[in-house]
């Protein structure tokens, strides 16, 4: 694998991995998720380029949690719990925005360069 960021310090790499682990370990309580999501967003916003392993870990953590939040939102709607539905959607949007932002640091941007030259 090819790109390792010069600004991805070991400390930031560790913090990012911890934020991803914390998100992955979330067990379904929406209010418990809020600080984890905030921490994730803060880490994601600091990363302008990234190594492949951390990128995969961060995006997978967001995507897995987003998928759980979609299902939580649908479940809350079926229960008629409007507050839980709105909260799940709000947290989902927060993570979605951070994860989409991470794609600007996508570690495959050198791809195809050689064949185009």
């Amino acid at each position: 694998v090819n790109v390792v960021s010069p600004d991805m310090t070991p400390a930031l790499q560790r913090t990012a991995a911890e934020a991803a682990d914390a998100l992955i370990s979330w067990e379904g309580d929406l209010e418990a998720l809020a600080p984890l999501a905030d921490r994730y967003v803060a880490v994601a916003s600091e990363v302008s380029a990234i190594d492949v392993e951390t990128w995969c870990k961060l995006t997978a953590a967001a995507a897995t949690t987003m998928a759980a939040l979609v299902l939580e939102s649908i479940g809350a709607e079926e229960r008629g719990d409007e507050a839980a539905r709105a909260r799940a959607n709000e947290l989902g949007q927060l993570l979605q925005k951070a994860a989409v932002g991470l794609c600007d640091a996508y570690p495959l941007r050198e791809l195809g360069r050689r064949s185009e030259s």
Partner: protein, 254 residues
């Protein structure tokens, strides 16, 4: 009186629609894409324009020909979208589009899960996988447009969200493996072919022996296929954009 034929949402879908119209010998006005009564009568559809309107909503129009086209272009998931191409209401089109998108999302997830199990990659399976991934953002964009969502029931939207949530998990579960596959297997594979092709072009430019040239070019046709390599570079290059689009599905949290 006339019936308007929908423009395909992608070049492949457009090809499928045109192939279906050709098979049924239906002629359209190129500027308006409308079928006039006289054209409908000359076509293979029984009952002229009325017949066309009657059978179109059932999706039975020339379905045999459609199957062939779908097989040829790998378009198994767009049956619903094509069936809605002729004379259906906006609401019916929206329901079909959602049904098709749910199938496309689930199908792409299954295709991805099967793809990463492979130990060797052949060009057609790689192209097929990456094409499916690169088409998914368009499917998602189309199905989350206001035109479709305006006609969708909450249950339909939730079906779509559930399928999408499943895909999201599958996609990112295999993301690391896909990146390793691209970097460690596909890039060397692509670059080797580009180098070989460039070497052959140089040999040809130097005026190498004609027999050697034929032999080498035969190999290009059979194994190296520069057009296929080019397509693969394009599809793989767009992988990052697909990832972004998959994450950014509009209306997922609403």
């Amino acid at each position: 009186m006339s019936v308007k034929i929908k423009q395909g949402q992608s070049p492949l879908e457009q090809k499928a629609i045109e192939a279906r119209l050709d098979a049924l010998e239906i002629t359209t006005d190129p500027s308006t894409r409308e079928v006039a009564e006289s054209d409908a009568k000359r076509s293979k559809v029984k009952g002229g324009l009325a017949g066309l309107e009657k059978v179109a909503p059932t999706g039975q129009l020339g379905i045999e020909e459609l199957d062939k086209v779908e097989k040829k272009f790998g378009l198994g998931q767009v049956t619903g979208a094509i069936a809605s191409a002729v004379g259906r209401s906006e609401a019916d089109k929206a329901h079909d589009a959602i049904k098709s998108a749910v199938l496309a999302i689930s199908g792409t997830g299954e295709q991805l899960a099967a793809f990463v199990q492979k130990s060797k990659y052949d060009p057609s399976s790689v192209l097929s996988m990456f094409r499916a991934l690169s088409e998914l953002p368009n499917t998602l964009k189309g199905v989350t447009s206001n035109e479709v969502l305006a006609h969708a029931s909450r249950a339909e939207i939730n079906q779509l969200r559930t399928a999408y949530a499943g895909f999201l998990q599958t996609f990112f579960q295999h993301q690391s493996q896909m990146i390793d596959t691209i970097n460690d297997t596909l890039l060397p594979w692509i670059n080797q072919r580009v180098d070989s092709y460039n070497d052959m072009s140089k040999q040809v430019a130097r005026g190498s022996d004609l027999l050697t040239y034929n032999y080498v070019m035969g190999d290009v046709d059979q194994k190296l296929r520069p057009d296929q390599t080019k397509q693969m570079v394009h599809q793989v290059s767009n992988y990052g954009e697909s990832t972004k689009a998959v994450l950014a599905m509009q209306g997922l949290f609403s």
